[in-house]
Symmetry: C2
Subunit: 254 residues, 2 copies
């Protein structure tokens, strides 16, 4: 099933931008009257009939609507330090999207080798992976900010806030991510499901750079309500650690 994306929906008509129109009309050779599938990137899926098969500005009539299409049962923000080799971060972004993630926040730590990240390329990967994995909502990617700015911005938020680092702080022993999630909601429950009796607390997980978080960043996180976690006994690369955290949430709510 081929999915198109439109961020311009007026009444019962979806307007495709130049890139999506070209893909629909020039590459896949759809013609007026063809059935096409469109997402709005915010969670809604539209069954459509192509009206205008212009290869630069196609449009389609909406025949049916499905909200929360391909949605997952949690709200997850992954704040991850971009890897030195950018392919590895891009790979994480693709895989996290397939599993289900809401926000990817690139954060720059004191020990980060990579201090800049262009989000345009990541945005394309997120769109492509969203379509490929049949989801209606594209994960958001925020502009890079420092680890400490990210932590401070979440100080007062009512969220399950977790930080994964590889050392031990005397006063704050790390628990496994599995136990941290189990302490929040019983395994298998949907946080947004009223039947579970649980409030829908969003989850925020911080993953450091190749050189780990600094002690100062870890202390600030603990002060701001982050819980220190580990990801098991294996020594994982940054991008594998980040994906493993997404998998932990995915399995917890399976």
């Amino acid at each position: 099933m081929e999915i198109f994306y439109s961020n311009d929906i007026r009444g019962d008509v979806c307007f495709l931008d130049q890139e999506e129109s070209g893909h629909c009309v020039r590459v896949l050779r759809h013609r007026s009257g063809d059935h096409i599938c469109v997402i709005d990137g915010e969670g809604t899926f539209y069954d459509c009939t192509l009206l205008d098969d212009s290869p630069k500005a196609a449009s389609a009539r909406i025949d049916g609507v499905q909200r929360c299409w391909g949605a997952h049962r949690y709200n997850l923000t992954m704040a991850v330090c971009p890897t030195k080799n950018i392919d590895r971060f891009e790979w994480f972004a693709e895989k996290a999207t397939e599993l289900g993630v809401d926000v990817i926040a690139p954060v720059i730590g004191e020990h980060s080798e990579r201090k800049v990240l262009k989000t345009d390329r990541i945005r394309k990967i997120l769109l492509s992976a969203t379509k490929q994995s049949l989801k209606g909502a594209i994960p958001q990617i925020s502009e890079p900010e420092s680890v400490s700015a990210f932590i401070r911005a979440h100080r007062d938020a009512d969220e399950l806030k977790l930080i994964a680092y590889c050392f031990e702080e005397e006063d704050a022993p790390r628990i496994s991510i599995k136990d941290a999630l189990a302490g929040e909601t019983p395994a298998g429950t949907a946080p947004a499901d009223p039947a579970s009796g649980q409030p829908a607390r969003p989850i925020v997980i911080l993953i450091g750079p190749e050189g780990d978080f600094s002690r100062a960043e870890a202390s600030l996180a603990l002060e701001c309500g982050f819980r220190p976690i580990h990801l098991g006994e294996s020594r994982l690369r940054t991008e594998t650690a980040a994906l493993t955290a997404v998998e932990a949430v995915y399995f917890h709510y399976m």
Copy 2:
């Protein structure tokens, strides 16, 4: 920590092959008398002192031995259909090694687009990921065989055998991989741990190609004692599905 690999250990001396010797002596400029770390690829770690710093045939004296170094608490064979784009399969091999896997068995399904796979390149990736993730045992990779040959070879084996496909067979409803693992041993127990009272059944998981398993392959698997599973609600690419299965086992025994 830099790790070297030797498959030639005699008495208390490790002999490095030409590639490892070059890396040790020419690239990292180790000299006789330096402390180096060596694994045998079968699970044992050696603390060594470099004796001969020949860049083609270095050798080192063993000062200390650690068995089961970086070992995981399960025995897992992943039988996975290689992806059309080989990078994706290689990526899976690297990530599975970081988490912990024992055997990677490339299998060719009726719907596989890729019918051949050279294992030499994968073998190098496995060695590199094993060293990088500080493990003593390199996962084995078997030569490619057909899905049906693999299934038949496991017919009589006393293993937890799981097959992930995307359709439903009327007589054999799929359960989640999480429930399949929980039905075998309680979460968090070590299968090889005598205290848990559980026998150490190896786990074998079959993951199909982009076009899924054929109905005939699925039926043969069920006849041969494989249990049909799903990997949750997300639609995952082949390599993501394969890694997600490894993550499920990793979390189950966490």
